[in-house]
Subunit: 334 residues, 2 copies
DNA sequence: TTGTAAGCGTTATCAT
DNA sequence: ATGATAACGCTTACAA
């Protein structure tokens, strides 16, 4: 119950050496005699000494922790979509290797940007990861300009020179649409993601690229990655383009919503209308019909994000961007 | 690009006052003249001063942050089950109110318990929340015994005196089973959760209570909250008790797995066998048939968890346990 | 190889 | 109401 933890000083006294020596032992300095080292280590154990991080940070100017900033109102982050948990898992695993901690920050509002900036400037973390940013968020640039290492998930809109990691949304989307084209679909629509998010923009770009190459006409509706928005977008498409025969949705949830709407409208999937999603969430396997979709490696995304940041914090130069591959998973919906 | 942030000292010089005065202004002390305050605040703004948290922590012995420890290998935490995101969201929201940060720690192995203990003892956080603990994990007690405020999600097995917050698993399960009984079901089985987790134990207890009260015979199979385990458990039940007419599963995912198995076996749900789940994840609404289930307020759980911890850290005494209500949501599967 | 001593940037206790 | 000044616990030149 002795609330005050023992200090370096006390360990030093207990071992009969100086503070400096204990510090050296604790930090694994090679310049200390084997005998003394043992002696000190025993004292450390006996007293249950644990270095005080605040004191250490104060002098080393390192916090040994990194922040992951998540835009709380993001429709993607907290939906069924397993993006968020998988990302965190990847990040954690990577940070554990370098014995650093993960500080999670929700950017719940514009005001919280200021809060986050303050926190970072207070020296609480050695670097910041920003995920699924909306629009021209100034936060990445603002943070980076203070000299803190910053890496984002997806290039940030607004052409800031912040290193980023992303999955190949464009390529994945194009592959999916090409698959539809190859299977003879002639009127391929897309339910795109929000036009202020990189994931939305890139998947739409991939769709457009493939459509243009095949000399088809783009048929576009927008959603926000949620199932409800997918349902609504599909209703709209059906109304405006009743002869469409395929849909590429920028998320599995929207694809699932689209399937619901199609069925209500009496369309068979995939016979009348083929549907392809994006993400490959668990759900995709279990809905009726199982969804053909573009798989993205979210866990790896998290790992790489963390790895890049750690490298930057260590002063190692990193590539300005890393793109992870996506993969078409063919099931029954297309 | 000036990497070194300005210090209290510099602000003091700039404003022509002493460090102490600046400190008072920054911390909102009332004992400072209005004129001086303005002067200092201007300097703070002009220099972009942000207090160094490490220095502050060193003297105040407060970290202004709290840890949430998640057992990484938990089958619940990172599955489709939205437990984890919802919990984090609740915790974050509550911590934001008191301007504290959330440090996320994955307990990926037995070894990481030591890591976590070290981290906490290093004074990095002012308190710890532990979620969905497996078995007789010594971590809660170990941490609490060092004097750090600790609160767990679910009472910890092994009768330690750590305050906890939980949902009413027992009551929810009993309500579900009673509902089945009232609807005339005579052979009600359960697919229970892991017997080393409180959520598993309590839901089974609720089932047993209702079954005994109705003088029925318990029919039990175990799963680990995942869909696959639900499928397997259902197969086993069907083999051993072919005349069962209802199943209460301790998670929606297991309920969904059970439905799959039942259908493959040619049973109609709910006509031949009624199924009730637990959690009310989004999925429950979208599967065929939509799942009758017990809803638990995970977001609130997170909030209360954080609120209790903050209170403890402030020295306020808290109730040894808080139980949040659950609610039966009737849909089509029962 | 080991010890001495000077900070790191705050807060808090005194005087004034 | 304000200002010295002493901690807080650690790392790290520099000296020995």
């Amino acid at each position: 119950m002795n609330r005050r933890r023992p200090t370096l000083e006390q360990v030093a006294q207990h071992a009969g050496v100086s503070r400096a020596t204990v510090s050296r032992v604790v930090n694994g300095s090679p310049t200390v005699a084997a005998g003394i080292r043992e002696l000190v280590l025993r004292s450390v154990r006996e007293l249950g000494y644990v270095p005080n991080q605040a004191a250490r940070s104060l002098v080393t100017q390192k916090a040994n922790s990194f922040a992951l900033v998540l835009p709380e109102p993001s429709t993607r982050v907290f939906s069924e979509d397993q993006f968020f948990p998988a990302l965190i898992r990847g990040v954690s695993q990577e940070l554990e290797i370098v014995e650093c901690q993960l500080v999670l920050m929700m950017a719940s509002s514009a005001a919280s940007s200021a809060r986050i900036a303050q926190y970072v400037l207070a020296g609480h973390v050695d670097g910041v990861m920003l995920a699924s940013i909306h629009g021209p968020d100034p936060l990445p640039k603002d943070l980076a300009s203070t000299g803190v290492p910053v890496v984002t998930n997806g290039r940030s809109l607004g052409a800031s020179p912040v290193p980023y990691v992303d999955v190949d949304s464009t390529g994945g989307a194009a592959t999916a649409v090409r698959y539809l084209i190859e299977r003879g679909r002639k009127h391929i629509a897309t339910i795109a993601g929000p036009p202020d998010m990189v994931a939305g923009i890139d998947r739409l770009a991939g769709y457009n690229t493939a459509i243009v190459a095949a000399r088809q006409r783009p048929i576009i509706a927008f959603g926000d990655f949620t199932r409800e928005s997918g349902e609504a977008a599909m209703r709209q498409l059906l109304e405006e383009e009743p002869n469409l025969d395929a849909v590429f949705a920028a998320s599995d949830l929207m694809a699932h919503g689209a399937v619901s709407t199609l069925r209500k409208a009496g369309c068979r999937v995939p016979e009348d209308v083929a549907v392809i999603g994006f993400d490959d969430v668990d759900l995709a396997r279990y809905v009726e019909p199982p969804l053909t979709t573009v798989r993205q490696p979210i866990f790896d995304l998290g790992r790489v994000l963390a790895r890049q940041l750690v490298a930057m914090a260590a002063g190692t130069p990193v590539e300005p961007s890393v793109i992870l591959p996506t993969e078409l998973v063919v099931r029954d919906s297309a």
